[in-house]
């Protein structure tokens, strides 16, 4: 998945109404009328949201002229999740090394001055 498509997908989901629409489409396809019902906005506004989601590749509209139900492109959502999962795994890998380090560290370190602390010229060497 190209980075610019990912950006579009994430940006498309930056809006709470669009996130809600996507959440509802995970249950099943729906028409624009059905999708618009719970919101106090015009059909036009909902159609605009759907266009943004469509441009991001997150939803598609069937060619069925009668109802034109909106369909969630689950693969794109899945890709976004997979992409995050890889990042998560890298962090987890780092933190597993930190686990090992923490297990080795003594509980009470001998208090040492930070290496960058300015030295007091009066101090005995």
């Amino acid at each position: 998945m190209a980075a610019d498509q990912l950006s579009r997908a994430f940006s498309a989901l930056a809006d709470p109404t669009r996130r809600d629409i996507v959440a509802r489409l995970t249950v099943g396809d729906a028409t624009v009328n059905e999708l618009a019902a719970p919101y106090a906005v015009t059909l036009q506004a909902v159609s605009k949201h759907l266009r943004v989601l469509e441009d991001a590749g997150l939803v598609s509209r069937s060619r069925d002229a009668q109802r034109r139900p909106v369909h969630l492109e689950a693969d794109v959502l899945h890709l976004m999740t997979a992409w995050l999962e890889r990042y998560r795994r890298r962090a987890e890998e780092r933190y597993q090394r930190l686990d090992a380090l923490l297990a080795e560290l003594p509980d009470d370190p001998a208090p040492a001055p930070p290496p960058t602390a300015p030295r007091d010229p009066e101090e005995e060497p």
Partner: protein, 163 residues
């Protein structure tokens, strides 16, 4: 959008409203120890740097008003990182900036919070906030390749060394 496994494993969330990534992880160590592993450069290089890179700390003054710079080197290629420590509170908070020198105009505001869970355990929450969704996505996508390549190899090494 987030992927979460067990409570003990790293959980990650890419906020949809602001360009932010949030990571949560718990450790079997008290906050003072986890804090030390984040502030003592000698300890930091033992877990922070990617496996196939050498991490060299130029300076790491982890105090309020301090700054840091470190380098990752691989096959003669150098990648520099630097930033400032905006607020450092022992055992509980580090707020810092983070810039990859290959992209000097980009800066992330990072916040590390350590919570004492009692029984010698700590919850770490790390958030990175950048100035645009494009930056956030680039930041997330960076190093993905190496992450895949390395897989869990490093963990094997750590376990083999015997902590």
């Amino acid at each position: 959008m987030s992927t979460t496994t067990s409570h003990r494993e790293t959980s990650i969330e890419a906020d949809a409203a602001v360009p932010l990534v949030r990571i949560v992880r718990e450790f079997d160590a008290p906050p003072a120890k986890v804090f030390r592993a984040h502030t003592d450069p000698e300890l930091l290089v033992r877990w922070l740097g990617p496996r196939d890179l050498t991490m060299t700390v130029e300076h790491y003054d982890c105090r309020t008003g301090g700054s840091y710079r470190y380098l990752h080197t691989r096959d003669g290629e150098e990648y520099g990182f630097h930033g400032s420590f905006h607020e450092v509170r022992p055992d509980s908070l580090i707020v810092q900036t983070f810039t990859f020198e290959g992209w000097p105009d980009g800066v992330a505001l990072e916040r590390l919070v350590l919570e004492d869970l009692g029984d010698g355990r700590t919850r770490l929450t790390a958030t990175s906030l950048v100035d645009s969704f494009e930056s956030r996505d680039a930041f997330l996508a960076s190093g993905m390749e190496s992450g895949v390549r390395q897989g869990y190899e490093r963990l094997d090494d750590v376990l083999a060394e015997g902590a």
